[in-house]
């Protein structure tokens, strides 16, 4: 396997990271029966908040300053924490309005997604296109020397490693622990969970706020590493909608969600490579307007959702041998958590 190909794979894994973190956060939220539709706006506003916090901590309030007054690490940690707080607050609005006020989650989430994008543009105007601290690379000792896996997965930065931990951690939590079972239950059959003594609404608060905080980490991951700084229009415009679609494509299962995120990042890598180097098939150069390639992720979004709704993914299950079929059932399902979008009321 040549080095260039491994580098490409490594950059796919890296560039998928904010999508992975955001869609894992949303999976946590939706598994609890609540949909946080504000993802696109949340990512934009948390990217703004995280960047400004990191910039102010490291460089001070003067936007022209080039001398650091504190270490980059302090700024980065502060930035991620502030972004988490903002993401959690936005999610809290959705939780409150859904649980206490019985408002439609889609309505509130949609208003928030617009409002947060505008808010980010308004508050971030002084801080666009200025440099700030950037999360450095940190190869994992020992693991980085593994053949193939090392260069692809373990010569990245802390945020990328965090995304691995989140994926595996959430899988373990949901399918291997008792509280994880309760987590799934409040999204599937809240009445039954309540009957078994689970405090449905309190847990929903916890998971919605936690999911929102992770969306904040994803937002900060953009402005502090993958698309450093702030720009207008925001560099990750539209990614929140793609992350929401990845959760559906991923069947609310962490492993399939991460696969979906990598797939999108791979498609982007391919199309940006074509934009840079041109496209040739069998030695024949193919000429077309490369602007059209920007439509590919959105076409793929429609196609992936079609795959899910047509039941094609579930039909894959039938091709597998019996014992594997049973084990893969939770990975290949396409039904949303049954109580998603509904409010739970004891009566």
């Amino acid at each position: 396997m040549n080095v260039e190909f491994l580098n490409t794979l490594a950059s796919v894994v890296a560039n998928a990271t904010p999508l992975v973190i955001a869609s894992i956060g949303e999976t946590i939220t939706e598994r609890a029966g609540v949909i946080n539709l504000s993802l696109n706006g949340s990512l934009i506003v948390t990217a703004m908040a995280g960047f400004i916090a990191a910039r102010v901590i490291s460089f001070g309030v003067d936007v022209d300053a080039i001398d650091m007054i504190a270490s980059a690490e302090a700024g980065l940690i502060g930035g991620v924490l502030v972004a988490m707080l903002v993401g959690a607050l936005v999610a809290l609005i959705i939780a409150l309005s859904s649980i206490e006020l019985r408002l439609d989650q889609v309505t509130v989430g949609f208003i928030l997604t617009l409002l947060m994008a505008d808010l980010a543009q308004f508050l971030g105007q002084e801080y666009t296109r200025i440099p700030g601290p950037v999360v450095p690379k940190w190869p994992v000792p020992l693991l980085q020397d593994l053949p193939l896996l090392g260069p692809v997965f373990f010569q990245q930065n802390v945020l990328v490693y965090l995304s691995y931990i989140l994926v595996i951690g959430l899988w373990f939590w949901l399918f291997r622990t008792r509280p994880g079972m309760a987590h799934r239950a409040i999204g599937e059959r809240p009445e039954a969970a309540y009957a078994r003594g689970t405090n449905v609404n309190r847990l929903r608060y916890v998971y919605v706020v936690l999911g929102g905080a992770l969306v904040g980490v994803a937002g900060a991951a953009y402005s502090l590493h993958f698309k450093p700084g702030l720009s207008n229009p925001p560099a990750m415009q539209g990614d929140g909608w793609i992350a929401l679609a990845i959760v559906i494509f991923g069947g609310w299962h962490p492993f399939r969600v991460v696969l979906g995120a990598w797939l999108f990042a791979a498609l982007r890598a391919v199309s940006s490579d074509i934009q840079k180097n041109g496209l040739s098939v069998l030695g024949q150069t193919i000429e077309f307007n490369f602007v059209l390639l920007n439509g590919l992720p959105w076409l793929m979004l429609i196609v992936t959702l079609l795959l899910v709704s047509s039941g094609a993914i579930e039909r894959l299950l039938l091709l597998l041998p019996g014992p594997v079929q049973r084990r893969m059932r939770s990975v290949l399902r396409s039904d949303p958590p049954r109580a998603i979008g509904t409010t739970f009321e004891v009566d």
Binding site: L103, F110, L123, L244, N289, W298
Partner: protein
């Protein structure tokens, strides 16, 4: 608080959100070191300083009202037509294709105008039809299908001005300007606004609610929106009804898009929809599905929008303040609506019989 349902109680739940959102916006303006009073004054001047600026407000009001009336139809059918933004853009693209192709002699100029508007309608309907087909027959949620189609229309627009419609010797920011017979004629020099478009908007805002209230189609549409399963059992062709809602909305969005290119800009630009479709969703949410309010709310929003376009020049402030103000208003309003309904429900419980009272105390513990 005594009487939430009528009179002063209800008024408070409308006025408080307005005041609260103005207060929040004022705090934001203070946070970036400007005077709220000065900003408000500039927005007011930007909208109403003379007839030309007032016409500028109307030039936002026309497409915003058209889009909102269309969205009223889809909302009533129980659909979240987030794809409206792409439908406006598709309408603009189709109308622009007409404008860049045809050059009728002066005596047939009205015919060309009509043809372009029809093309715009067609464009909006095609885009809405794809979203509808994906939703109704292929099971792709209209929120995601619509969002993807918005982005695809945007990519198509950028492709057009960087390729087929690339202006000779120009920059790839917009197509070449349309010829005069491809544009809506302005009312006058003092009132640069398309009278024909105002007339179409007025017809739409009266006719659509009327048709919704008085016809079998309107009834079927509302039945589909409130409970699709029981509507189907009652013999309503829910798929066809939902599709018709998409198409009506797409047609109105198409007119809106055609107006943006055939009057506001006089050429095609990729950002021609400019968030007007999304804003329309907020307008309808704020109207609480009372169609009479739609043109009024759209007017206030248009004034804020038109008034804040000059904030960047006059105060070096980002015009996104308009969106912040509008978004906050709708959010706070919806939250107050929820609060009012909860308070009413609680009072209803207290007035109810013993079993209901015990249920409410139980939910008070958990909720």
């Amino acid at each position: 608080m005594r009487n939430l349902n009528s009179g002063p109680g209800r008024l408070a739940f409308v006025l408080l959100p307005v005041l609260l959102s103005l207060l929040l916006a004022a705090l934001l303006v203070l946070a970036v070191g400007r005077e709220p009073q000065e900003v408000l004054q500039k927005i007011w001047q930007g909208a109403f300083r003379n007839t030309r600026s007032f016409a500028g407000v109307l030039n936002f009001w026309i497409p915003l009202t058209l889009a909102s009336v269309g969205l009223y139809v889809t909302f009533r059918a129980g659909l979240w037509n987030i794809g409206i933004e792409g439908q406006i853009l598709a309408g603009a693209i189709f109308a622009s294709a007409g404008a860049l192709t045809f050059d009728f002699p002066p005596e047939f100029a009205p015919l060309q105008l009509l043809l372009q508007i029809l093309l715009g309608i067609l464009g909006g309907m095609v885009w809405a039809g794809i979203t509808g087909a994906l939703k109704i027959w292929l099971g792709v949620n209209e929120i995601f299908g619509g969002m993807a189609l918005n982005a695809l229309a945007g990519v198509w627009g950028i492709y057009l001005i960087s390729g087929p419609w690339y202006p000779e010797g120009g920059s790839a920011q917009q197509s070449r300007p349309f010829l005069e017979n491809a544009l809506y004629p302005p009312l006058s020099r003092e009132w640069p606004v398309g009278l024909l478009a105002i007339a179409m908007t007025a017809v739409a805002m009266v006719l659509v609610p009327l048709v919704m209230a008085r016809t079998r189609w309107g009834l079927q549409l509302k039945a589909t929106g409130s409970n699709p399963r029981s509507a189907l059992l009652l013999g309503v062709p829910t798929s066809r009804v939902a599709m018709s809602a998409f198409l009506v909305c797409g047609a109105l969005a198409g007119i809106a898009g055609s107006y943006r290119v055939m009057f506001t800009y006089g050429s095609f630009r990729p950002l021609v929809a400019g968030g007007i479709g999304f804003l329309g969703l907020l307008v309808v949410l704020l109207s609480t599905m009372k169609p009479l309010w739609i043109p009024l709310i759209a007017f206030v929003f248009s004034a804020i929008l038109a008034g804040s376009t000059r904030l960047r020049v006059s105060l070096q402030l980002d015009s996104s303040l308009a969106g912040v103000l509008q978004g906050t208003l709708v959010l706070v309003f919806i939250l107050f609506q929820g609060l009012r309904q909860r308070l009413e429900a609680r009072r209803g419980d207290q007035a109810g019989d013993a079993s209901q009272a015990s249920a409410s105390s139980q939910s008070g513990l958990t909720g």
